[in-house]
Symmetry: C2
Subunit: 243 residues, 2 copies
Amino acid sequence: MNLMQANSRVLPRSCECDNGTPDTFNSTLESPISPFGRPELGVTYEVPARSGRAVRVNRGEVLRVTNTHGTQVCDLWAFNAENLSEFYSSEHTRGSTYRVNPQAGDVLLSNRRHPILTFLEDTSPGIHDTIIAACDLARYRVLGHDGYHDNCSDNLRQALMAIGLRTGEIPQPFNVWMNIPIHNDGAVTFEPCLSKPGDYVDFRAEMDCIVVMSACPMDINNINGLKTLELHFSVHAEHASIA
Amino acid sequence: MNLMQANSRVLPRSCECDNGTPDTFNSTLESPISPFGRPELGVTYEVPARSGRAVRVNRGEVLRVTNTHGTQVCDLWAFNAENLSEFYSSEHTRGSTYRVNPQAGDVLLSNRRHPILTFLEDTSPGIHDTIIAACDLARYRVLGHDGYHDNCSDNLRQALMAIGLRTGEIPQPFNVWMNIPIHNDGAVTFEPCLSKPGDYVDFRAEMDCIVVMSACPMDINNINGLKTLELHFSVHAEHASIA
């Protein structure tokens, strides 16, 4: 199946899809940064609003993700490029960092407890989330949306398909800049980002990775300030080489 | 491969195993409650110390899990009996309950956002964990243990294999009675259970489920009070029918 054929398929909107198949498609499927997701080092790429992108980040390289407007959440996943069943796992990382959410300096572990990314630098206030699942079509239905809605789960599926890959599941993402305070009584609330335009986070790959970023299309609750905007990213040979 | 053959296999202790294959085996593999995991209603079964058990709980039936000694954590998973790739998901549930950890009255969702269990009743102080991954061999190595150590991930794999099933992954468990306070600065600590002997939790199945329970064998940190003890469970036709 080529991309055009794939794009012409609109699957039943039943939320009963196999975890690896999007409910329908947006432009993410047709616009990889390159056929296999390999970036040109030092070049800035866009994650368009409401869309996703996959990028290969080799061991030792550094990925910078920029919150261009300051108000946009980025759902981020990291997979072992050699074995997509190994991926960043917040629940395994917590047993090592003894924190609910990561902060700059933390080594992030995979579901096999291998270092997969090191969170090197963070110019934002450091508010990120790792306890809320990626949005999906079922989520928007519950929130009252009728018909298809772009969503981070389908963006992950499509961003991988766009470079010829497929995941069997939707792992818990690292929701960069997503502001989900955990209150003393265990309640959680969904709040706007506390970052500012141009804030960035840097991650060093500790194994050859496929990283997927989704510019979260949530426009019903306030996590993106009710606007859905683009993000940017770049890959660099090493941290010191970033201009 | 029959169970005896399976039991005679001791796989390399590399922590590099496929997620569906235990690193080695304990008695869990040889001692299902019945060949396909179907319980006799109203009968109390044991989860022996450091071991796991799988049980089929049909839609509408109620599972009671009892903390016999009060100090023992139970890692618990619920899978759709018709499709093991659908399972209880804490991160999807939070988007519905707006709480970090469940409490009695909550409907627990699967990774497809379908109701899978309803948490009906809890006689304990209500302290449970859903943010820390199941222990595995790699975890015990990091904590300084040399050689094989019973672990909840292998208990899940073996409890399913004992009834002829296999999971491709180790989902985030519902860690019943596990006391992992989240402090105001985002730090988490590993503390002893706050439950008392005989405390129980009741769950109603909202679809036909395979539930797996592991009596967590952690004996290095203090979550089980440095003792690893047995748990008990029973399945009932309905909540009102429990004696």
